[in-house]
């Protein structure tokens, strides 16, 4: 579809970015802590959409599975189950504006410096268009099980340890 493709992708990119940034702002400024947690739903979907637009379909779905299906549910569950939060903490009052602005501003500047300072043309494995990428699942699987096998196995051992530890903690003093 020629030029239409580029415009459509840019339009989708900006729509998803607006969704992610807008809902992240809402999450940071919402008065009720539950609203903050739920507005993260839109943020995660926005980020997943950006992955999709950039042609990384596997990452997009993983984002939804891990963040929406896992982390967000745990987060909301934690907020709802903690019934001993005093009322003044249920209503989120941002107190540390200055450190927050400084920290996020520094992060932004660092990222911007890294992104603009990198000469992408000299990195051959970085793809420039989504069409170039093609299906990503197989390539991710291949590199996980060949070049990156050791880190992959290490992370699974870490998760196993966490699982056993969580079960031990959850059982408490019964055994």
């Amino acid at each position: 579809m020629g030029t239409g493709d580029g415009i459509g992708i840019q339009l989708a990119f900006f729509a998803f970015s607006a969704l992610a940034v807008g809902s992240a702002l809402l999450a940071a400024t919402a008065r009720k802590i539950v609203h903050s947690a739920f507005s993260l739903l839109a943020t995660f979907f926005g980020v997943a959409g950006i992955y999709g637009v950039l042609g990384s379909d596997f990452m997009a779905v993983t984002q939804v599975v891990v963040y929406v299906g896992g982390i967000l549910v745990l987060l909301v569950f934690g907020v709802l189950l903690t019934d001993r939060i005093p009322d003044e903490f249920r209503v989120a009052k941002p107190r540390n504006y200055l450190p927050a602005v400084v920290a996020s501003g520094l992060t932004f500047l660092g990222l911007a410096w890294a992104i603009t300072g990198t000469s992408w043309a000299r990195l051959p494995h970085v793809l420039r268009t989504p069409a170039e990428a093609g299906p990503t699942t197989e390539r991710i699987a291949r590199s996980l099980l060949t070049d990156y096998l050791l880190p992959f196995e290490f992370s699974s051992i870490l998760l196993l340890v966490v699982l056993v530890g969580a079960a031990r903690v959850a059982r408490g003093g019964t055994r």
Binding site: G4, K32, V65, T137
Partner: protein
């Protein structure tokens, strides 16, 4: 059947900006799927459930509401008039819908209005999202995604957030308890569900639904015998159910049961168990918002039945009905500007009968089995399903290496 060609036939289409063209062409299949599949499934699902449960319990169920083809003044009883088509009560869902629309859209005082109103939309959107990648027939998949089954399971999990939202926003202890149970149950059952969904994926070597269907149309070796050769695979001998033989039989039982638990239908209906929690997270809902939860539930039931049929029972691409219809010496049916491939017709028939059978089985189970206790639900998942599904995964991996 190319959509952009179809739209190109509209006069003046060339003057529309390219990205608007793209968006329209992309949105039309989605809207068509919603209108043509989800709405009838939601409406007829409620009707089927009530009729089916009535038959099972020796009652009649809704059998009155039909279509008056002539208006002869307001009368006390229309049903015995010759101008009234009873249609076995098939119009009942429409009457129910009108009733639901007329009800007060009530938000409980002290509840969280925004979240209360948003929750049913998120639940319904989650169910709707599954239809995007559900292969209905040849060329009838809205998007045959490369990460198909992974996407389907991911989108199916979004519903949990909506239920959690509903439970919190209702400002009601029953609602909150109900949604807590829902989360515990769904999060637990997602593990064996994903593990068993991986068995067909391993055999086909792809997450794409289309590839899984194509794989089941081919012949394979089982214990040294060639099965499904000479075109017999498309009669259903190539189903994943029969591949790596005893393994996938266990896998489909686990997958289907987990689907039932994720749909929170009896015997897994603890989130809304009416004898303990009034209606769980649905307690405070009324009118069309309550109806949206149910439309979402029936849409998700249909989608999950379709996914089970596709993963293990050949989807639209193989089975008795498909094999029989492919004997008909017709290649395609001309339809004005486009032609309809005969495989599409055969695929729709094949997909429909399997999905409807699994859909009906869900209803049968609901009206025969008593509700499990919470600890039984959890021990069934973690003590039985998780180890068995891991064994299934391992064995199908070995079978895939052996060339099943």
């Amino acid at each position: 059947m190319n959509l952009s060609e179809l739209f190109g036939a509209i006069p003046g289409w060339g003057y529309v900006p390219a990205f608007v063209q793209m968006m329209v062409v992309g949105l039309v299949p989605a809207v068509l799927v919603v209108l043509a599949v989800v709405t009838p499934v939601g409406l007829l699902g409620t009707y089927a459930e009530r009729r089916w449960s009535a038959f099972m319990q020796d009652r009649l169920g809704p059998n009155r509401v039909g279509l008056p083809i002539w208006f002869d003044g307001w009368q006390r009883d229309y049903t015995n008039k010759p101008w009234y088509i009873k249609l076995w009560g098939l119009v009942q869902p429409l009457a129910d819908g009108i009733k639901l629309l007329g009800k007060e859209d009530f938000v409980p005082p002290g509840g969280d209005k925004l979240l209360f109103l948003a929750a049913p939309l998120i639940v319904f959107a989650g169910a709707l999202g599954m239809f995007v990648a559900l292969p209905l027939s040849y060329g009838l998949t809205a998007a045959d995604l490369n990460v198909g089954i992974f996407y389907l399971l991911a989108v199916g999990a979004v519903e949990v957030i909506g239920v959690l939202m509903a439970g919190w926003a209702s400002n009601n202890k029953w609602s909150l308890l109900g949604s807590m149970r829902e989360v515990a149950q769904v999060v637990a059952y997602e593990i064996p569900m994903a593990l068993t969904a991986l068995c067909p994926v391993l055999l086909a070597g792809s997450l794409r639904m289309g590839a899984i269907i194509e794989h089941q149309q081919t012949a394979y070796d089982l214990w040294g015998l060639t099965i499904g050769g000479e075109g017999l695979a498309q009669w259903g001998l190539g189903w994943n159910l029969f591949r790596a033989f005893p393994v996938n039989v266990v896998a489909i039982v686990i997958f289907y049961t987990c689907a039932l638990a994720n749909l929170k239908r009896a015997p897994f209906d603890l989130p809304e168990s009416e004898s303990e929690l009034v209606s769980g997270f649905l307690t405070e809902y009324s009118g069309m918002r309550w109806g949206l939860f149910f439309l979402g539930e029936y849409a998700a039931m249909f989608a999950l039945s379709g996914i089970t049929a596709t993963l293990f029972l050949g989807g639209w691409g193989s089975g008795p009905a498909y094999g029989a219809l492919m004997l008909v010496p017709v290649k395609e049916i001309p339809l004005g500007v486009a032609t309809l491939d005969w495989r599409t017709v055969a695929g729709v028939v094949e997909f429909s009968w399997k999905t409807c059978a699994l859909f009906l089985l869900m209803m049968n189970l609901r009206w025969t089995l008593p509700r499990l206790r919470l600890d039984q639900v959890m021990s069934l998942c973690f003590k039985y399903f998780v180890p068995f599904s891991m064994a299934c995964l391992l064995l199908s991996g070995l079978a895939a290496l052996a060339g099943a």
